[in-house]
Symmetry: C2
Subunit: 421 residues, 2 copies
Amino acid sequence: MTLVKKPVTGMKDILPAEMQLRDYCIGIIKKTYAEFGFTSIETPAVESLQNLNSKQGGENEKLIFKIMKRGEKLDIDGAKEENDLADSGLRYDLTVPLVRFYAAHTGELPSPFKALQMGNVWRADRPQKGRYRQFMQCDIDILGEPSNLAEIELILATTTTLGRLGFKGFKIRINDRRILKAMAAYSGFPEDKYDEVFITLDKMDKIGIDGVSQELEKEGFDRASIDRYLELFKASEGKSGLEGLKTIADMVGEFLEEEVKTGLSEIISCVEGTKAADFEMEFDPTLVRGMSYYTGTIFEVAMPQYGGSCGGGGRYDRMVGKFLGQETPACGFSIGFERIIMIMMEEGFKIPGESEKTAFLIEKGMEADRLSEIIKQAQKVRESGRSVLVVRMNKNKKFQKQQLAEQGYSDFREFYVKPLD
Amino acid sequence: MTLVKKPVTGMKDILPAEMQLRDYCIGIIKKTYAEFGFTSIETPAVESLQNLNSKQGGENEKLIFKIMKRGEKLDIDGAKEENDLADSGLRYDLTVPLVRFYAAHTGELPSPFKALQMGNVWRADRPQKGRYRQFMQCDIDILGEPSNLAEIELILATTTTLGRLGFKGFKIRINDRRILKAMAAYSGFPEDKYDEVFITLDKMDKIGIDGVSQELEKEGFDRASIDRYLELFKASEGKSGLEGLKTIADMVGEFLEEEVKTGLSEIISCVEGTKAADFEMEFDPTLVRGMSYYTGTIFEVAMPQYGGSCGGGGRYDRMVGKFLGQETPACGFSIGFERIIMIMMEEGFKIPGESEKTAFLIEKGMEADRLSEIIKQAQKVRESGRSVLVVRMNKNKKFQKQQLAEQGYSDFREFYVKPLD
């Protein structure tokens, strides 16, 4: 019988060293979010295709691993298209399942409901370095809180978590979809083309202001509008969070509701005044974020030293209502868990406070009574919470000890059939 | 747009109260097994169908959720059977993936390799109360340890874990496939019918010794063999572990190798002499365990007060070799995680040492500066590791506080737009 040794295409096995780091991080994340009043929930890995294809998943809906129907439901001969053969699939994010969960259990949940989800998601993306088809997502969401207290708590909780994981000197870039729209309106772009404009604006990081200018022109937008638009970014560039926001708000004037500006200012100043980690809030009028379901604030964790974003989120006040039939304000923040693990591995992160580990090496042929005595000793050490590995001594004891040292064992005790004394 | 609110058939959402208990148990399990030198690993939820259908999975191979091929690989018109449409599926256990993992990474792993796996598995079983199509398994395995040190450590680690989760007065039933065979040979059953005999013996719990007798006769076995067989169980009944084992070993005589008896005696006495939880070892010659891959010792956690087994395992020395091409002794123990959670929920288990939780209720319309001050206070309390929920005060404050009390909040602080002073 031959076995396929490799994991299926695009997915990976996790070895002990990485797993230990992941468990450590999961511990910190769960503990910190709990301190902010978030409670963990879990939904099945499998969701109905009807939900997965509800148009909230954007491009991810093309990447679903579909699960074949079973038994009588499966009619291979009569099948004409994929959806004749499948009615469920692996979830590609934790947002669609959260909304379904909330709709199913509203009556049993507090309001506002603060949820933490840590779970795997699956996307049939083209495999590439560092990106896998199964990966863990880590989302916090507040459902039922219309005020910016939601944004403040989400940002504080996430940055505190990142701080405890050892990250510092990062930025939280923040913007608001309504500011994006106000800027586009002020510049005179046609309303039905806003999304196109935003897609180009989103490339500012990569192609710069001249690149954006050229691309907008190529797309056929009016030169005057483009110039008026780019003036906004030039005017706010290099200014601090609150200043930049004020500059743009003053320029776009009546196109922006006062409360949007006030709400965003409050978030920035309140987070800056109460933060428990080393980072800065940055108002960034070029921040777009892809998902079309966002309705208000949007934000992102920027760690330029590690080449980009390590998480993000925003407000999506209309999505839950679409499903539930009852308006429910919602706001969420997702940490890029896999990215963070990758950075920590690359930086050689050492898990703090790991206690010394002991290995008992026992010569082969040890008589039962003495083996029992030795294990009793091991059990005593374990009672103190310390790890004791009890193993047979290999022929090449030196190599065995080297191997164990690599796994973090520093204290070795050797037991021989004939005691040495 | 309509949304299916329920989880897919046979799977379940996990709400905050259960999730908190699960996280608590996962923490205890991971910590305790680490003290015994087990390291966590993880494999993808998806495995190739070739591996899943390798005949090691027994009946579970009929319950696979298959994942549809994608893109060019998917030929719906030309497909004649399921396997034309799918080449991977969701794993139904953690044993097949462990063996694949070991085969893929042998060179990077220590020997012996002590693995802990906690992960979901999927089986398209008929849905029934308390059994779901997605559930968590919790397996420890030792690969590369031929001696009974493996069994001793597996049993000590698992019972210590169960003890720390609050279980006591349980039993570890133990037997050996080689004793089962020796008893069958001694009784004169034909060798090619052993498995049939064992399947009937396995029902002893339910149908009693007379039931077993009748069923064996109905299957056409020789009356003299049946009587000789049942004598063994009568002779050992009610005897303590070591005594019962001795009785049977003496009766079957040369049909059993001396080292099997000695090995099992050593396990029983060593575990009894070093155990760190309130349980007993019980030699049980009627213990069979279903999976055909077991080659030596087999064992099970018996909690009669909760209606049966809460885990089990055994030695499977030939399975890894079949895949790897190189003999590798192996022994594993699996805790019935979902069962344990169910029992703890039913018993109203209280998580020990949970700290008091505080809720800040803030009246609507609070000015930004004061909100910032209040959040600063919350952040101070959080620094001490204590949970603080910051929420807007609802109109019905009394009901809100009741709801919060149900979630474990006992300390409330209220903040009004006009301070009460």
